[in-house]
């Protein structure tokens, strides 16, 4: 027996019922330690797995989408930004030299940070399509108690290429970047996924809608918001969704935001002014638009919210080179319930119809089929 061997701790020795100084003693000690070590390995793996779920935003394909956009950046003429309502733009119907960088549950600070990075890399950009939903002016991911908001902000930092940090958001920035280093999405699958195959789960409670990789993307890989199930959408289902899901959630969200930051509208407006200035410096035309919503949603949304958006947009579009178009009440889209996946998001069919109807004429006669 090797003299360098540590004896088993007494409690463990008692449990294992071993007598001191034997090879059985030695083997038991080794087995206990190995088991503890392996437990540590699994424990660390589980922590990383949970971190990955934090970073594994409901849009798992965001990283690839952004990388694809960056490859095409020097050639792009039109860029779509915004939150999940950016999915209202059907990229294939706008023209080939177009890209989208909208991310689920983005706020305007994140959009500004994206544009600070992207605009210098898009010398041919002439139009920015900015989706302004009714909730855009009330959305502040850093200033909230809702746990999913910090997740969104961390996810934003975790994305390539490493957008500038927003307003001293050190903690989220650090966690987002570290999480990328520790839980590389492209590395997780081949190395870790087999270990966690049974326990894996997609995303968390993501605000703003769901995106699934399955069967949900435009030709350029831009994902679609998809329905929670495969049943055909009807007016009745839209009404139910608006009444029981979307409207209550949005109302709670707005209340939470205003409670934590009564000046949130002024703050987001200031950001939008900076975005406009950034674009004007580069001669980029800014087209704000509100996408079509279902009738039940429109009828239930807070009128004050609609009025605030209209007021702010009117103020911004008083500047040269800035436009605002309110397509929220687009009858041609709203009359067909299958144009929607839920009360406030267009389906692929609806996005294509809306883009051809309203956006393609807006962004220039040569955009389509270019």
């Amino acid at each position: 027996m090797n003299d360098s061997f540590d004896p088993i701790p007494d409690p463990v020795r008692h449990v294992l019922d071993v007598q001191g100084g034997s090879s059985r003693d030695a083997l038991a000690s080794v087995l206990v330690r190995c088991a503890l070590f392996v437990a540590g390995v699994i424990g660390i793996g589980w922590v990383l797995h949970d971190l990955r779920l934090e970073v594994a935003h409901p849009e798992p394909g965001a990283k690839k989408r952004i990388e694809s956009l960056l490859e095409r950046a020097p050639d792009l003429r039109i860029l779509t930004v915004g939150n999940s309502h950016g999915s209202a733009v059907h990229q294939g119907s706008v023209g080939r030299r177009n890209g989208s960088i909208w991310l689920l549950a983005e706020d305007v600070w994140e959009i500004e940070s994206q544009l600070e990075y992207l605009l210098p890399r898009m010398p041919q950009l002439d139009t920015l399509l900015f989706t302004a939903s009714f909730g855009t002016l009330y959305h502040d991911n850093a200033n909230t108690t809702h746990p999913s908001r910090d997740t969104v902000r961390r996810f934003f930092y975790a994305q390539p290429p490493g957008y500038p940090m927003i307003d001293g958001d050190w903690v989220n920035w650090f966690e987002g970047r570290m999480t990328t280093a520790l839980v590389r999405p492209d590395h997780w699958e081949p190395v870790f996924a087999p270990l966690f195959a049974g326990a894996d789960a997609t995303g968390g409670d993501a605000p703003g809608g769901d995106a699934s990789e399955e069967d949900a993307s435009d030709e350029d890989g831009t994902p679609r918001i998809v329905a929670r199930d495969r049943e055909p959408m009807t007016h009745a289902r839209l009404a139910e969704d608006a009444a029981t899901n979307v409207l209550p959630r949005h109302a709670e969200f707005e209340e939470n935001m205003l409670e934590l930051n009564p000046d949130v509208v002024e703050d987001t407006t200031a950001v939008l002014r900076r975005v406009v200035a950034m674009c004007r410096e580069r001669g980029v035309r800014v087209v704000f638009f509100t996408p079509p919503y279902s009738r039940p949603y429109l009828e239930g949304v807070d009128p004050a919210q609609r009025a605030t958006l209209a007021r702010v947009m009117a103020e911004l579009s008083a500047t040269d080179g800035v436009e605002y178009h309110d397509f929220s009440d687009e009858e041609a889209i709203a009359e067909d319930p299958t144009n929607f996946v839920n009360a406030d998001h267009l389906s692929a069919k609806g996005a294509e119809a809306f883009t051809k109807l309203r956006l393609r004429p807006l962004v220039g006669p040569n955009a389509a089929g270019e």
Binding site: M1, N2, S4, F5, S23, A26, L27, S29, V30, F37, G40, V41, I44, L48, A181, L182, V183, R184, H187, P190, V191, F192
Partner: protein, 482 residues
Amino acid sequence: MLFTSLEFVFFLPLVVCAYYLLPQRARWGLLLAASYYFYASWRVDFLVLIVASTLVDYAAGLAMGGDTERPGRKKWLWASLGVNLGLLFTFKYFAFFTDSLAWGLGGLGIQFDSPAFDLILPVGISFYTFQTLSYTIDVYRGQKEPERHLGIFALYVSFFPQLVAGPIERSTSLMPQMYERHGFDWVRIRLGLTQVLLGFFKKVVIADRLALYVDEVYANSGDYAGAPMWIATYFFAIQVYCDFAGYSDIAIGSARCMGYKLVTNFKRPYLADSFKSFWERWHISLTMWFRDYVYFALGGSRKGRLRTYFNILALFTLCGLWHGARWNCVLWGTANGVYLVMGQLTRDAQDRWARLVGLHKVPLVRKVLAILFTFTLFVVSLMIWRSETIPNAITNIGLAFSSGANSLSVTAPMAGYELSLAVIALALLLALEIAQERKDSELLEEFNAKPRWIRWPVYYAGLYSVLIFGVFDLREFVYFQF
């Protein structure tokens, strides 16, 4: 089966557990079966060659016997040399020889069509051939009694931790260990596993990551000139070191788990302050083999200065040839021989120059400069090795020394994230190597003696560094081509 594959991660613990569960008399059988299985996992027909080599040398050893006065011993030595070197020549050098002959005769206007044999180079043939030859030569010289146990001898030839890429072991060192009883020693096993983990880190975190940069630059050398070419070649120097040293660590660590002590193969070669020192630290088992069986046979340094320099050049040219059946490798070897000879010739001049510029007053500065100079000269020779052909090597050297005005930037070959990781990992390795150099001791053994609260976080960090930051495209070890 690569060391860095999932199969090996399961294979090693299974073999080690079975090893300790079996009685001593059965262990050689287990290891032999495991070694043949390990080798056959590449190609089953490779086994034919290693078994043939084993049987020939076993018979030659017995025939020569222990009596150096016995008549007729030399023919058995020649038989062993003939068979082993013949196999090596056939599989590794035949095409090189015939192509070179065709080229040479073509230059003289003589048409010669080199025969096309599509022979796959058996993995590790250069290593186990040298290992078996060392046995027969030692028996011939009377330095080793012939081994009578065929199984033990076969295991000596095929021992899986060092079979395919060394270290090249001597029969006087490894064979006696096969008769020793290795008791279950957890501290030793732990040390072995730690060394295996270090080997994995060097290979998949450093070597395979740097290979991404090196391959990109050398595959598109026309787009990279100046700094990127230099950086790629420096990276290649580190890649080949971490690749080979990483493999050696895994080999030595694996053997250690079963109580076998293999020779240290690398001793921080890039911290050498002269080429003499460098080749005492780089691939030590090969250098010692060439010294003991070639250099001394040529007369060593006993026949005057000129003959010594000739022997050195011949030795390193052969060493280059061993590294690859390509004229680039031969030239690389010769270049290193030239470095060594020049180092000896200019030793006094170097001392005088150091005194002239005052470096003798600052020995640390002199040492650092000497280390950097030695490393850079080795890197320049590696440009020859890494290039596809000699004209390509000349072009690449030219590109390295050009201004690089139209070159892509130094960050073009690799994503910033990957490059940052590579630099951080390199910095860690350099710190470890400097610490080991200063203490001139095995830090791993000292670390292994530390309490658990120090060791376990390092184990976890190392393991997850390999899992998270490792490049797992199962790139073969560079030295497998030998």
